[in-house]
Amino acid sequence: MSKLKVAVFKFSSCDGCQLQFLNLEEELIHLIDLIDFALFYEARTYVEPGPYDLSFVEGSISTPHEVELIKKVRDESKVIVTVGACATSGGIQALRNWANVKEFQNYVYPRPEWIEVLKNAEPPSKYVNVDYEVRGCPASKEQLLSFILQFMRGKIPILPISPLCIECKLSGNLCVLVVNGTPCLGPVTMAGCGALCPSYGRGCYGCYGPSVDSRTLVLNRRFKEMELKPKEIQLLFKQFAGWSRKFREVIEEYE
């Protein structure tokens, strides 16, 4: 069987997600026997031209140049997998989407007129058809590996889509919400990290974005009962996956 031809593309992002491929370390040696990283700027100089069997896309689309590029990536890829919060919901840079871009540009740039950015930072799925998502900020390296291994077996890869609370209990964590009254986004956030934050005694900040059937408005009501201030509730949802539809529903209540 010929090796899977894999590409790793980067858009507006911190590089953390693609770094996770390199963080596979020991598995990496075996992995490159199974797949061929045909394009991976961070890791190698040589670039094999497309088409690619599997393209991993990190980052959100935030400039006109990136819009063109993602379309090209689509044309060259049989399967596109968006990786990480940036690529699945816009990521941290999508926080600017609520703001007045003009004002942002003036605040940040001495020469705002040179700036060529889109009003919104959006996930690639806004512009092209995306086949799969791997969530998280960053995506977990275990999930990335699992995705590849499942894909290679001819399976439609399955990653968990249920709420984090299930994982939290499976890991034996103490619920920070019930015990400490700490606001936690776990009940509305997609599992996948192993409930890291609660295991370190803090509430989940939602970096995996909404779970399937995520009931953010119910959690919002709960937070109000806990006498959190509107601004605090808003900031909780307005983090790394804030631009996802479900989290937005709460954020916009307070805009």
Binding site: E25, A43, T45, S62, L196, Y200, Q239
Partner: protein, 433 residues
């Protein structure tokens, strides 16, 4: 007649963190133009930090860079702690140093082995080295993975750790959790020593250029979390006044700012600077190896940065082991501090060099203003100057060699473009074609 002018353009710099390009133009046997272009999209961090609560800042700024998130967490936490009047206790400080050193190991290994070494050996990626010398690659990857475990044990995960916060950590990290790391530390020490020795045998190009090396100055230990800002040309200032001593500069072809010492010139930050300014603070075991290979307290060119990185890696492994022994669980996981308005700034040593953060908070603990000066942007101008210093060799080379060498020079600095571009006053440019 053929034109005497030629140019190379590297559209996507590979084996660097982030997206940049390089343009070198040669006219009449003289390099007439070197442009290290950064076309990474601006991400407006300073703009959306306004209005965020101070506790969120470390988590948010961590997302500027997935390769050195701990550096962002530490610089921002320390800057904010200054405003809130928090002094963390010794145990917390030890934990911070351990996780930070873990990041050094992880980041240095990434660069030394995966990004940089291929240049010295004529490979296009680590795969080439793996074929030639599987042993060193195996050891290197084990080390990198150990660095990641150090971060994982303390931080929950290595990219964007979740346990660190302003004032300390979200929960007490148990001594026995750390002790799981000690098990392998002796082996890791040996691997790191082997890696350093291997690096010391690499054929390292000559390059003479007079540069100012800026780093923190350690007092009793090799600097990481704090220290005065010093240079080999007599700079010696407190972190709080750093901004007054540097001036910013813009170029049209880059989305990243550049920095120079006010009234002087460009400078270099990073492992090389740290090494040159603090050699005596490296662990004796490390210095011994270095000296047995004929190197000493001063490394003179940017190609030798790989030595500094390997030396720091070995140092970090030894240091982590000591620190874990010294660690005892603190009484409480973090200091609360009093919320008040004010300005605070801090510098820590990111793997790529000094990382400056300044924040202004209002009375309720929300950010009003901020400024972040990441290491890579401070190095950009020097990278170009290094290439120009190679003028005589470069002009004689054919295009592909020229390109290879020029790229090698860029990679000497382990530029992290994600960091460089996040920040204030970015200019977007059209790339020369």
């Amino acid at each position: 007649m053929r034109s005497m002018s030629r140019a190379i353009k590297v559209d996507y710099l590979s084996r660097v963190e982030g997206e940049g390009n390089l343009y070198v133009e040669i006219e009449n046997n003289q390099i007439s133009k070197v442009e290290l272009g950064i076309f990474e999209a601006p991400r407006f961090f300073e703009a959306f930090l306004r209005g965020r609560k101070y506790v969120e800042v470390p988590d948010i700024t961590a997302r500027i860079c997935g390769i050195c998130p701990v550096a962002y967490i530490m610089s921002s936490s320390r800057a904010i702690e200054k405003i809130l009047g928090i002094e963390v206790d010794e145990c917390t400080d030890i934990l911070r140093r351990i996780i930070y050193l873990g990041e050094w190991i992880e980041s240095h290994l990434l660069h030394v082995l995966m990004l940089h070494a291929p240049d010295f050996l004529g490979h296009e990626s680590i795969i080439g080295i793996a074929k030639e010398n599987p042993d060193i690659v195996k050891k290197g990857l084990k080390l990198k993975s150990w660095g990641n475990s150090v971060m994982k044990v303390i931080g929950g995960r290595s990219v964007h750790p979740i346990s660190c916060r302003v004032g300390g950590f979200y929960r007490i990290i148990r001594k026995e959790e750390l002790e799981t790391l000690i098990k392998h530390s002796d082996v890791m020490g040996r691997y790191a020593e082997d890696l350093l020795k291997w690096v010391l045998t690499l054929k390292i190009p000559e390059l003479k250029r007079d540069v100012e090396y800026v780093s923190l100055k350690g007092v009793n230990e090799y600097p990481i979390l704090r220290g005065r800002v010093v240079s080999n040309r007599g700079l010696d200032i407190a972190e709080d006044v750093f901004e007054e001593y540097v001036e910013t500069e813009q170029v049209r072809y880059s989305t990243s700012l550049r920095y120079r010492i006010r009234g002087r010139s460009y400078y270099v930050v990073g492992p090389l600077a740290r090494y040159n300014n603090n050699y005596h603070l490296l662990r004796p075991e490390v210095r011994e190896v270095i000296e047995s290979y004929g190197y000493g307290p001063q490394l003179s060119n940017s190609f030798q940065s790989i030595i500094a990185r390997a030396a720091e890696t070995y140092h970090a492994v030894l240091e982590i082991k000591e620190l874990i022994k010294k660690y005892s669980e603190p009484a409480k996981p973090y200091e609360e501090g009093g919320v008040m308005e004010g300005v605070g700034s801090a510098i820590t040593e990111a793997p790529r060099g000094i990382l400056y953060h300044r924040y202004e908070l209002d009375g309720k603990g929300y950010v009003i203003n901020s400024n972040i000066i990441p290491p890579t942007s401070q190095n950009l101008a020097s990278i170009e100057r290094d290439i120009i210093a190679f003028n005589d060799e470069l002009v004689k080379m054919d295009l592909s060699d020229l390109q290879r060498l020029a790229e090698h020079v860029v990679r000497n600095y382990d530029p992290c473009i994600s960091c460089a571009t996040h920040f204030i006053k970015v200019i977007n440019i059209k790339i020369n074609t």
